[in-house]
Amino acid sequence: MTEKLLPKPSPNNKTVNEYVRAVEHGLKAQHVMAFPGGWVIRTMGRVGASQVFSTEKEAVAEAKKRATTKGADVFVHGRDGKIRKRI
């Protein structure tokens, strides 16, 4: 298998730029997820250890705080991993 890089999309391509903005915004989202022993907040754009909250409510409250600072959305996932709620 070989790969060939295509020419970079034009910086004026509105459709591409909207996609990039959506990705950048999405990467900031705060995801509240079940974790052994509690709940954690995770993001897609950052690597780092997560604080474990003992209740979902506490995790959501902290996620909301972080989201406000970053201008991001909060998603609460169920124990099956699927999104249960968008805040």
Binding site: M1, T2, E3, K4, L5, L6, K8, P9, S10, N13, K14, T15, V16, E18, Y19, V20, R21, A22, V23, E24, H25, G26, L27, A29, H31, M33, R42, T43, M44, G45, R46, V47, G48, S50, D73, F75, H77, D80, G81, K82, I83
Partner: protein, 201 residues
């Protein structure tokens, strides 16, 4: 000349009951209308080539079209190509009308990037839709290759970094190596959920 682009997502916007926050509610209706538009375009257009797009939700398909295909004489069906049966109907119909047909599959290099775009763009779907379209489109692509219902397939990988997105065209030595690649790159819902759940990794 410009491509004729048929997109269920674009059709949705023209529907009376469309609410971007509940896109899934008009999905079936818009898909039916898109299929109808496809039939009309194949029957009436002088363009000789049909391109079927394939790939899960928010893979960067529409963006690929807007950058690389929009100015060519093509009939483009911009959808996820979720089933072998649906693809076969389109392939057979296009061939019957003397068209050349090819499939362009757009795959995100990092599924988390596609998921980020999926969650943030204007039109909203339940996340179930994201998993389903990524699983089904890859499965359908494999079935198309295995069926020998020959339509040339090209896979483009969509990369995202600080400079934005870029695409890489993948080439395979032969059909067998394409089949091997497709077989080893199928998803299950559990795998996707686990990848998304480990979003810091």
């Amino acid at each position: 000349m410009a491509a004729i682009i048929i997109s269920a997502d674009e059709i949705k916007k023209s529907l009376k009951d469309y609410d971007p926050k509940k896109s899934h509610l008009v999905h079936r209706q818009s898909t039916k209308l898109a299929d109808k538009e496809f039939v009309e375009a194949v029957k009436s257009s002088a363009y000789k080539t049909v391109v079927l797009l394939s790939g899960g939700s928010a893979s960067g398909k529409t963006e690929f079209v807007s950058e690389y295909l929009v100015n060519q004489d093509l009939i483009i069906f911009d959808g996820t190509l979720p089933s072998f049966e649906g693809a076969k109907i389109k392939i057979d119909f296009a061939k019957k009308h003397g068209k050349n047909i090819r499939i362009s599959a757009i795959w995100p290099d990092d599924i988390k990037v596609a998921f980020a775009a999926f969650l943030s763009r204007d039109r909203k779907y339940p996340d179930e839709y994201f998993y389903k379209t990524h699983i089904d489109s890859r499965q359908a692509l494999l079935e198309i290759v295995l069926s020998k219902n020959t339509a040339p397939i090209t896979i483009y990988r969509n990369f995202f970094d600080q400079s934005g997105i870029s695409y890489r065209e993948m080439s395979f030595q032969n059909r067998k190596s394409l089949i091997d690649y497709l077989q080893t790159n199928q998803y299950t819902q559990r795998e996707l959920l686990d990848t998304i759940a480990n979003i810091n990794d």
